[in-house]
């Protein structure tokens, strides 16, 4: 989504196409692409005989949806910031790398010392990963998981992104 505006500059010449449209379209495209990839991967695992069905499908869907909203919010903010500072995307890559490392994908939060987990629990991505995990595996029940924290962060991020896009829309792209 960071590049949605710059890569669609010519379409934005059409009065009916706004920056909001291209950003939202890119967000939806990412959602469908990643969902399709996930389904294909899981189907592949299923084909070789691994158990792939989540025990709580609605929980999985809810977590994916909230993470997507959070991602859209970040995407809107990034697209706006990137329009003003061209190297922001490089910094963002490093930042997200940090967030990934600290989201308990390599070390399950349950194996961490309490004080480290208390710090890392500020990372919304950690809650996203554990929400997904706990809906997938019945025996996984992290007591530190706070679904409402992630939801609130996602909604606030999305509102901030929408607000930035609306407020600065006129300056988001240079006419050709």
């Amino acid at each position: 989504m960071t590049y949605a505006i710059s890569s669609n500059g010519s379409l934005l010449q059409l009065p009916l196409v706004s920056t909001f449209d291209v950003l939202m379209a890119r967000g939806l495209l990412e959602f469908f692409t990643d969902t399709l990839v996930a389904v294909l991967l899981l189907a592949g695992f299923g084909a070789v005989g691994l158990g792939v069905l989540p025990h709580n499908l609605s929980g999985v869907s809810a977590s994916v949806l909230v993470v997507w909203l959070f991602g859209c919010g970040c995407g809107f903010i990034n697209a706006v910031v990137n329009a003003f500072s061209k190297s922001w995307d490089k910094i963002w890559v490093q930042l997200t790398r940090l967030l990934y490392f600290c989201s308990g994908i390599f070390y399950v939060p349950g194996m961490m010392p309490d004080w480290i987990r208390d710090i890392l629990a500020w990372n919304p991505v950690l809650h996203a990963v554990d929400w997904f995990r706990s809906s997938f595996f019945q025996e996984y029940d992290p007591h530190w998981l706070d679904r409402s924290y992630l939801t609130i962060v996602a909604v606030l991020t999305l509102l901030a992104g929408f607000g930035l896009e609306r407020g600065l829309r006129r300056r988001l792209y240079e006419p050709l």
């Binding site: 379409l11 010449q13 009065p15 829309r169 300056r171 006419p175």
Partner: protein, 220 residues
Amino acid sequence: MIMLDGVSKVYRTRTGRKTVLDNVSVTFEAGHNFGIFGVNGAGKSTLIRLLAGSEEADRGVIRRYARVSFPLGFGGTFHGALSGSENVAFVARIYGASIRQAIDYVEAFSELGEYFTMPVNTYSAGMRARLAFATCLAIDFDVYLIDEVTEIGDQRFRRKCVDAFRERMLRSDIILVTHNVHTLRQYCDRGAILSNGQLALYDDVATALSQYHRLVQESA
């Protein structure tokens, strides 16, 4: 009819702020074809984009009591990775026109041949202009906004464009930016001059032209 009510537009360049419109209130009446004059850098292309709605004004309101086209200019309104026909389909879809008819019309009019199904990235500037021209004509607009792209293609293709526009002008209006006086006289019956943030409308092209020449001499 397009009404501007207290419209201001400033854009920022490296060298500072540039005022294109400063509290302008004018009306482009229906039934007339306007030619817009202005020295280079006065903001004629920005004005066209404002009229189209591709850009928002900083202040004021622009009311369009007509179906206004997208700005037809060298900038291009097409996605480079999509083919000509896919782009036409997209434009037809968002304007609610028949996709099949639009594609058939553009394919025949633009004379792009096999390039029509190839990505727009591979087009020359002239081919893009032909595609844009044909796409704009494929959709029935009340007002066509044209930004210096009347001189495209060879003699024969230009003639075809003139004929097509002549025919369309029986029911639609155009607002045209060009430096070519001959083109202006050919299409327009009214003139407008954009300078120093003000937009002055004139009831005939000759008056507008003489005013414009005076302006150019004063500034020279």
